[in-house]
C-alpha cells in the first residue's frame, strides 16, 4: 500500500517538460501564457506553497515579434551603481546582444535563440504549448506562381516607384 501511495505521489507531482515555439509571438502575451506553466497554475493541485511548476523550453526566441514600434521605443534601463553609470538600451539593441534575456532567474525556463536545443533537455519534452497567434507567411515563402495569381486591387502604373 505504501509503495503504491509513493508512486501516486510521484505521479501527481511529476514535472512535465513543455516546448514553446516563440517565432512571431508577442513576448508579453507569451509571458502570460508561460507563467501559468512555470508556476503550475494549470494544475488543480496548485498551491502557492507547493512546488508544482513545470519546465518550459522556449525555442526560436530570436524571431519574437514585438507589437507596434516597440523595438524602437522600448528602453531597458541599467545602472552600474557608480556616478554616471546609467545606461539606456533600446529593445532591438538588447535583443541583438542577447536574444535569450530573462529579467530574473527563472530556473525552470530554458530559452534558446533557435532550434538547437541540447538533446539532454529535448529528450525530457513530452508536450508542446500551442502558440497564441498563427505564424504569418512571408512573401519569399510564396512561390512565383502564387504571387502572380494573387488577386490585385489595383494595377500600379509602370513608372510607379516601389520603395
Amino acid at each position: 500500500m505504501a509503495a503504491l501511495k509513493r508512486v501516486q505521489q510521484w505521479a501527481t507531482f511529476a514535472r512535465i517538460w513543455h516546448v514553446f515555439d516563440a517565432s512571431w509571438q508577442n513576448p508579453f502575451e507569451s509571458a502570460e501564457l508561460l507563467k501559468k506553466y512555470l508556476m503550475g497554475l494549470h494544475k488543480p493541485i496548485y498551491h502557492p506553497m507547493n512546488d508544482c511548476g513545470d519546465h518550459v523550453i522556449v525555442i526560436n526566441s530570436l524571431d519574437i515579434a514585438l507589437p507596434g514600434d516597440e523595438w524602437k521605443k522600448r528602453v531597458y534601463f541599467h545602472h552600474t551603481g557608480y556616478p554616471g553609470g546609467a545606461t539606456w538600451t533600446l529593445a532591438w539593441d538588447l535583443h541583438k546582444k542577447d536574444p535569450t534575456l530573462r529579467r530574473y532567474t527563472m530556473e525552470r525556463l530554458h530559452i534558446f535563440p533557435d532550434l538547437n536545443v541540447p538533446q539532454s533537455l529535448m529528450k525530457n519534452v513530452s508536450n508542446q504549448i500551442r502558440q497564441i497567434r498563427p505564424v504569418p507567411k512571408r512573401l519569399d515563402a510564396y512561390s512565383e506562381k502564387e504571387v502572380k495569381e494573387f488577386p490585385k486591387i489595383i494595377d500600379l502604373p509602370k513608372d510607379y516607384i516601389l520603395r
Partner: protein, 133 residues
C-alpha cells in the same frame, strides 16, 4: 445609597492589575525581548495583533476563494471550458456545488470533475449559448 459626588466619575480600573496584565502577557508569550516583558510595549503589540487577526479572518476567506478558483480554472482548462462557462452551465443544471467541493473534485476525483464539465458543456450547447474559447 446614592452618590452625588465625583465618585461617579471615577472609572473602574477593572480586576486586579496583575491579572489584567497577565491576560495580555499570555497573548504575547511568543514574542521576543521587550515585546513580551514590558507591559507598555506589549499592550501596543497585542492590540495590533488582534486587529490583524480580525482582518485576517476575512482575508483568509478571500484567499481560499481565490485558491479554489485557480484550481477549478486549471481543471476546466484541461476540458476546454472556461471557469465562467462552467459555473453558468452548472447553475443552469441546478448543480449547486460550491467552489471548495469543485476544487476538491478537480484534484481528488478527476473523472467526476470531467463528468461535471461535460454536463456543463452539454447544457450550454443545448441552450444555444456560445462557449468562449
Amino acid at each position: 445609597m446614592v452618590f452625588t459626588t465625583a465618585i461617579n466619575c471615577i472609572r473602574a480600573r477593572g480586576p486586579d492589575e496583575f491579572w489584567r496584565k497577565r491576560q495580555i502577557f499570555r497573548l504575547a508569550a511568543h514574542y521576543l525581548g521587550r515585546r513580551r516583558n514590558c507591559y507598555s510595549v506589549t499592550i501596543k503589540i497585542v492590540h495590533r495583533a488582534l486587529v490583524y487577526a480580525t482582518k485576517g479572518r476575512h482575508l483568509r476567506k478571500e484567499d481560499m476563494k481565490s485558491l479554489h478558483e485557480t484550481r477549478i480554472t486549471a481543471g476546466c482548462e484541461q476540458h476546454n471550458i472556461t471557469f465562467k462557462d462552467f459555473k453558468e452551465g452548472l447553475a443552469r443544471c441546478d448543480i449547486l456545488l460550491n467552489r471548495r467541493s469543485l476544487a476538491d473534485l478537480a484534484a481528488w476525483e478527476p473523472y467526476s470533475f470531467k463528468a461535471l464539465t461535460d454536463i456543463a458543456k452539454q447544457r450550454l450547447d443545448d441552450d444555444g449559448l456560445s462557449r468562449s474559447k
